[in-house]
């Protein structure tokens, strides 16, 4: 779900996930939560690209390896068959814990990445320590001032054209998939 929210899935996986999301409220909520997390992190667009697919494969492999190793250890201890049986009933809990840990790890990593300045000689001074910023986010454009943000979203749009203006405004133009009309969102800061 995190990979889908980040737009990091391949075409086939993305289509399969979208089909699933169309009929699963829980996963939709999960994707929405990941999307919001990405948007809350202010400079997400600035971080280097993360090889999500490779990362996901490695994490899955590590989790599977850990679970298999656990099975080997348990089956090798005589007299613990009953406990092993009990533990198996909680296999879902352990897997959930593993995933929660991975999510926490990835989230922490992203936050730490945010603190890295953007490459370029002005990066340190250009950070918006004060004053409003106008920028594009994962699926919209926003004016952000400290902990407050005002966003206009490109709901469901497949292709969005962003246009910045040196007077402090930004536009996002797209075809609204529901109405079929060209829609141009604009945010501006005075």
């Amino acid at each position: 779900m995190a990979l889908h929210a980040g737009g990091d899935l391949g075409l086939v996986e993305r289509l399969r996930t979208e089909r699933h999301l169309a009929k699963c409220d829980r996963c939709r909520d999960s994707v929405a939560a990941f999307t919001e997390l990405r948007e809350v992190l202010p400079e997400l667009a600035e971080i280097p690209e993360v090889p999500w697919n490779r990362l996901a494969s490695e994490m899955r492999a590590n989790i599977r390896l850990g679970l298999e190793a656990g099975e080997c250890v348990r089956t090798g201890v005589p007299g613990e068959a009953a406990e092993v049986s009990k533990l198996r009933r909680f296999a879902g809990g352990r897997t959930a814990l593993a995933f929660a840990s991975v999510v926490a790890l990835v989230g922490t990593g992203l936050i730490l990445e945010q603190s890295s300045p953007v490459a370029g000689p002005l990066a340190g001074t250009a950070a918006a320590k004060e004053g409003p910023l106008v920028q594009a986010t994962e699926n919209g454009i926003q004016v952000r001032v400290g902990g407050s943000a005002f966003r206009l979203m490109n709901a469901g749009a497949k292709s969005v054209t962003y246009s910045a203006r040196a007077d402090g405004s930004m536009g996002a133009r797209y075809l609204d998939p529901e109405t079929g009309y060209v829609t141009i969102n604009n945010v501006y800061v005075e």
Partner: protein, 384 residues
């Protein structure tokens, strides 16, 4: 080992319950939090409003408001409507920021209804919420004959008129292609347009309205770069010289001098701003409008376009270091409200079609072709 596993199970349950609690603090929008205001003499009537799926979500001490609003409007005038702009304001949250949504390239006849959507999010540090959080007002309606209704606080008259001029330009272009090459010619042109649209590279731009806090002299590596200019033979305004401060992936304080070569007074000029990266790849970076709201540029006179914003550029998460800059006249508004935009020949000759995104109308027409085929496109063109 068993005890340790048990502890892990308990910890997992606690973690998941905590996460669930954090995600579960959602509530529907309180009544009165959104206000849609259309003036009594408006050419638009509000038929219905829907805000299903809108909600507020508490996240610790912060509050997130998700607004998904569908409005059904009716054209209650006697003219065909070609554009609408709605102003969306949440003054309390944005501290001077505001937003607006424009629907260009409409063709709504008298008495006809049409849907529009506004999707927005507000995030505020305080969970306390009372009164109207979001105000939606009408800023302007543009009619087929380019007449206008509305307070125009956002200069939507100029924006929508320019968009309409581009729309007329592009419709005329495709009508001419159809007349000269028939449906095969139109099809070929549509495919070329779609290919161009898919190849245009976009920059992710962040804009900071005010200039940086430190002086230029204190910024290591900053240099003054000059604009090169594309000249359009029929442009009423000619760029003379211009420059901006560049450093790494940032550019700030663009200044461009222009001269009015026409016989009419000009009250607004907007320049397109292209940047090239180290590999020579060109991007549309931004536009530079005349900052002076009371610009009055008589024939033969010169003026300077000044903006103090700082823009930073990235592409695919990586900073794009600006090597070269190019400018071109993108829009001119005369004192009588008439608008000039570059013609397609200008854009073709300068190679700008490969860099600039398609106009709103071209986007709409290619979508009609893509979804409904050449016959539907021919029918659509015949409506204008």
């Amino acid at each position: 080992m068993f005890m340790s596993s048990r502890a892990i199970q308990i910890l997992a349950v606690v973690v998941l319950l905590s996460a669930g609690t954090l995600l579960a603090q959602e509530a529907p929008l309180p009544p009165g939090s959104v206000n849609v205001n259309l003036p009594a003499n408006s050419p638009l009537g509000l038929i219905s409003t829907s805000m299903s799926d809108s909600r507020t979500t508490a996240r610790g001490a912060a509050l997130m408001l998700d607004l998904h609003m569908s409005l059904t409007l009716r054209n209650s005038s006697q003219n065909r409507i070609h554009g609408v702009t709605l102003r969306v304001v949440s003054q309390e949250v944005t501290l001077g920021g505001k937003g607006w949504v424009t629907y260009p390239s409409l063709n709504v006849g008298p008495g006809e209804a049409f849907p529009v959507r506004i999707d927005m999010q507000l995030m505020r540090p305080s969970p306390v919420m009372a009164g109207t959080l979001v105000q939606v007002d009408l800023d302007g309606v543009l009619f087929q004959d380019l007449s206008f209704f509305g307070p125009d606080r956002l200069n939507s008259r100029r924006t929508m008129t320019a968009s309409e001029m581009e729309a007329q330009r592009d419709r005329d272009h495709y009508k001419r292609i159809l007349a000269e090459g028939g449906k095969p010619g139109l099809k070929r042109e549509m495919l070329e347009s779609m290919a161009r649209q898919s190849e245009v590279s976009q920059l992710a731009v962040t804009v900071k309205r005010a200039g940086r806090a430190v002086t230029s002299a204190a910024v290591p590596g900053e240099r003054t770069a000059e604009f090169a200019f594309l000249q359009f033979p029929d442009s009423p305004v000619a760029p003379l010289e211009g420059w901006a401060q560049l450093a790494g992936n940032e550019a700030r304080a663009p200044h461009i001098n222009v001269r009015n070569n026409s016989t009419r007074a000009v009250k607004h000029v907007e320049m397109g701003w292209l940047v090239s990266d180290q590999s020579g790849r060109q991007y549309m970076a931004a536009s530079v409008p005349s900052g002076d709201a009371t610009l009055n540029l008589p024939p033969g006179n010169t003026a300077r376009l000044d903006q103090e914003a700082t823009l930073s550029f990235t592409s695919k998460g990586q900073p794009v270091n600006v090597q070269k800059m190019m400018g071109f006249v993108n829009q001119v508004e005369f004192a009588d409200g008439k608008i000039w935009v570059p013609n397609r020949q200008n854009l073709d000759n300068a190679g700008l079609q490969k860099v600039l995104p398609a106009s709103a109308e071209e986007l709409r027409l290619t979508e009609i072709y893509r979804k409904r085929g050449p016959d539907a496109l021919v029918q659509e063109l015949s409506k204008f």
